[in-house]
Symmetry: C2
Subunit: 604 residues, 2 copies
Amino acid sequence: MILKRWLVGDPLKTAQAADQRLSKTLALAIFSSNNISSVAYATEEILLVLVLAGAAAIAWSIPVSLAILFLVLVLTISYRQIIYEYPEGGGAYTVAKANLGELPSLAAAGALMISYVVTVAVSIAAGIAALTSAIPSLFAHREALGLVTILFIVIMNLRGVRESGQFFSIPTYFAIGVLSLLVVVGVVRSLYDSKPVPPAMGLNGGLEPITLFLILRSFAVGCSAVTGMEVISNGVKAFRAPESKNAATTMIWMSIILGSLFMGVSWLAYHYGVLPKADETVVSQLARLTFGNGAAYYAVQIGTMILLILAANSAFAGFPHLASILARDGFMPHQMATFGDRLVFSNGIVILGFFACLLLVLFQGDTHALIPLYAIGVFLSFTISQSGMVHSWLRRKGKHWREKLLVNGVGAFTTGVATIIIATTKFWDGSWIVLFLVMLLIMMFRGIRSHYKAVKEQITLTRDSRPPRPRHNLILIPISGVNRSVVRAVDYARSRGGDIKALLVDVNKEETALAEIQWAQWGCGVPLIVLPSPYRSILGSIMDFIEEQRQKDPDCWITVVLPEILPARWWQNILHNQRALMLKASLLFKDRVVLTDVPYHLTR
Amino acid sequence: MILKRWLVGDPLKTAQAADQRLSKTLALAIFSSNNISSVAYATEEILLVLVLAGAAAIAWSIPVSLAILFLVLVLTISYRQIIYEYPEGGGAYTVAKANLGELPSLAAAGALMISYVVTVAVSIAAGIAALTSAIPSLFAHREALGLVTILFIVIMNLRGVRESGQFFSIPTYFAIGVLSLLVVVGVVRSLYDSKPVPPAMGLNGGLEPITLFLILRSFAVGCSAVTGMEVISNGVKAFRAPESKNAATTMIWMSIILGSLFMGVSWLAYHYGVLPKADETVVSQLARLTFGNGAAYYAVQIGTMILLILAANSAFAGFPHLASILARDGFMPHQMATFGDRLVFSNGIVILGFFACLLLVLFQGDTHALIPLYAIGVFLSFTISQSGMVHSWLRRKGKHWREKLLVNGVGAFTTGVATIIIATTKFWDGSWIVLFLVMLLIMMFRGIRSHYKAVKEQITLTRDSRPPRPRHNLILIPISGVNRSVVRAVDYARSRGGDIKALLVDVNKEETALAEIQWAQWGCGVPLIVLPSPYRSILGSIMDFIEEQRQKDPDCWITVVLPEILPARWWQNILHNQRALMLKASLLFKDRVVLTDVPYHLTR
């Protein structure tokens, strides 16, 4: 508990919740890092595919990047509309639930949950790659570094929303600043540069021909650049009033920053003929070419790393929030909706951290291996979300509905096509896993909901329920001898009166005789029943007696008061209470039998 | 439960215990297999060491075997004396406890427990090696085969002593028969054989010179032949009356069989120039040379395998018995002394099976790797046992004490020298592990005893203890709403009367208001206390209230009656009762607070 307080801080009152709202500057830091940080790997992923077709194919990186820039534009306009329509926080799940029904909304929810986990894993892997590009000796430790970073983020988030925002906003702007500097200096230099573009070295023919499929594949992995576009629309409620307007403005800023940085990096990579390497990122190579090996280079690497860590952090705002909405609708366990004492959904934060660590370990901290899992989930939710809006305009009509329908229609169509491209070109690389998991999650959501529904039906009081009439209660105290713990249990039982009996199973004549003598002195007048035990089974004899009493009066309660020794140290439990444990297990499913442990605390 | 009955049979009455005694024939089958089965690997282990010094060293196998034969003779005479002196079962632990004090007796107990585990692992590994020598295609599956065999033996033993004896006696005599046939036919042939001894093929110089150390090492591993000599003396009680006489006779028979088979195999191996191979045992090679590849060969292999499995089985009689003696003396958890419903110490059987499996997996089912762990523990207990007898004769004197002292003195000296040889020559091969574990076990034994002692002091009623005077009991029912499970808990609480109050933590104004209205109808007149909760912590508010009540009346009991939903399937628990679990954990160490779960059983 003390450790918890030190790590996550003192509890906050419910009334303090309103104060936790974010200014635009803070919100941009928290919500945009996911999106903007993809600059660190998106260009590299595109090049990694094109490089398979040799030097000539590299030129295709520019049109592919432009296609992705178009996606950014479409998504920005579409999501601004969603922000205004759903000021309560219009994630894909909310929009789909309102407009398309349960199945699409659950598909969107499942896809989003997976994306959040992958976001953390990809961002941390890429962030550590930025670090190991600058300090190659850390390359061997990238997995451990990633896990430590995730743990750090989890703790920070358990401390609460606003503190995370303050903690992270300065480095975010630092990161955006240095990356912008890299792009601006690089582009300006390249314009005045008279030396020709170096040919992509060591590349001639390539392994594959330049096919439409290859270019679509490079587009598919490049789509990882637009992941995180939806984060702001999920979190409108976290903005200061006027929420929607502030959120929409922040959205535009985010898109402008993303678009210029992404196109800048793609252009520079093409201009300098930079190719992906196993142990150094494309951004790191560009920074070296632009700034040399000085302080500016290290600033870019540190900035990139920080931005990626913040990207991972942004998922820790989104995932628990989505889980809490699902929990309120009965699709996730109730405890996901419980506000922790720091006004955050602690359960969701811990679960996200766990699965992200798992993913990082499974994929050995390799960004490229994780990318195929990434875009598909995000685009699936984009498509569902936009389709939901289209459906909404068609049904509701209202002011300017044709223009709005057009915007979301273009959005739905574009993201739909992208989803199909990603699903088909990267199916065996990982899309199938995500699609399979989405199906599993849908089944889980429905299973949980139907369980809660069944429980509710079973426990809800109806008009024809009657208050129960008072019943008899037989109190049994099983003992194996007379000692302080037994005397304590008898004391407890007698403090309420009623029909109390002690039970002793006769496994050893001498011990039984001794116990009977002691009982006369310490039993406080409670009758002692000695049960025979031909099979030496203490448990069996007690269970038989209880069953007999249950049969005798089919309406009575039976309370088993169990004297239990509670050792001073937890491991000492293995030396005690084995029988009590067996008795508890046997009684658990007996109707009308209630067990009461009376612990006797040992001090050493 | 049904599975258990089918696997281990119906429970037996305590009165049936006397019938479970063994005749000499059955006892020989159960107690001697451990000892006699070492014929299967002892010669091979001697050769494996000597072979390092090349062909010339092989001749040393005969004198080394003769030295071990001398050990057999000494141990037989010494242990016969122990059998007569300790008819209650004179294991090394009992003898040392009576004569040498606590530390040596615990050392003997620890050494024996380890030996039992190693016995199972070695015997099963060697038994499977006999099988895979005959059917090489099974070699790859030896680990799995070993584990399945151990599981089978565990189940058989859980069925009870006599049934194991009957089940195993015919194959034991079959195995002894075919091995004797092998030795007799082999030796007779070798006498009429005019062809010269084939030189140990492929061997010339050897890797090491023939040193005393090498010969002592071969003696050390050869000592694995006499393991199991003590088993009969541990189990005198299991014989039919007159127990000691029957046990002593059985002991002689066992030694004669062991001695002749072991010397026979060593002689044949030397005569035929057989050398150890990785995938075929020495006995298998001898059987092929003697009988060809016909039915007789397979009979030898099957016989050897069966004998080794029975050897493993014998440890399942010894280990639980030793554990139960230790438990009665307070050095092991009490439950080790609990007779199962088939009149066997079920806990000991299961624990031995578990550790034997663990060892088999750790050493990948390789006999040679396990052997260094084996002899040291056995010889340590031999030495302690014999020294105990020496001490006893010196103190008690009595009839013929000089002769008896001489017998046990020779026994103590011989086994002591052997122990030192084994400990020094095989120290880094595994003796150190055993010596270390023995020390750990001694610490564990003492820790357990001192804990039980402390507990006894704390719970024993003394003269000045007074029966407690009746105290007040406040019954609290924490609820989060009104439903059937809550009504059931109220029903239960009211069945005993007393000062009952329901507690509702106010986290949501609307829900609280609704609950208050419903309580008026269903609360049966029990007062409802609404607790404020500024920090949304339901747990915290309840704990605060309980603490307050505890302070108010420092002498009263507080009973927390917790309405709990018991789902139909275990995994559904994750969807319920998280708060109940937290509450239970928080209340566990509060003095005078007793928790009562009132389960409401869901049906779907």
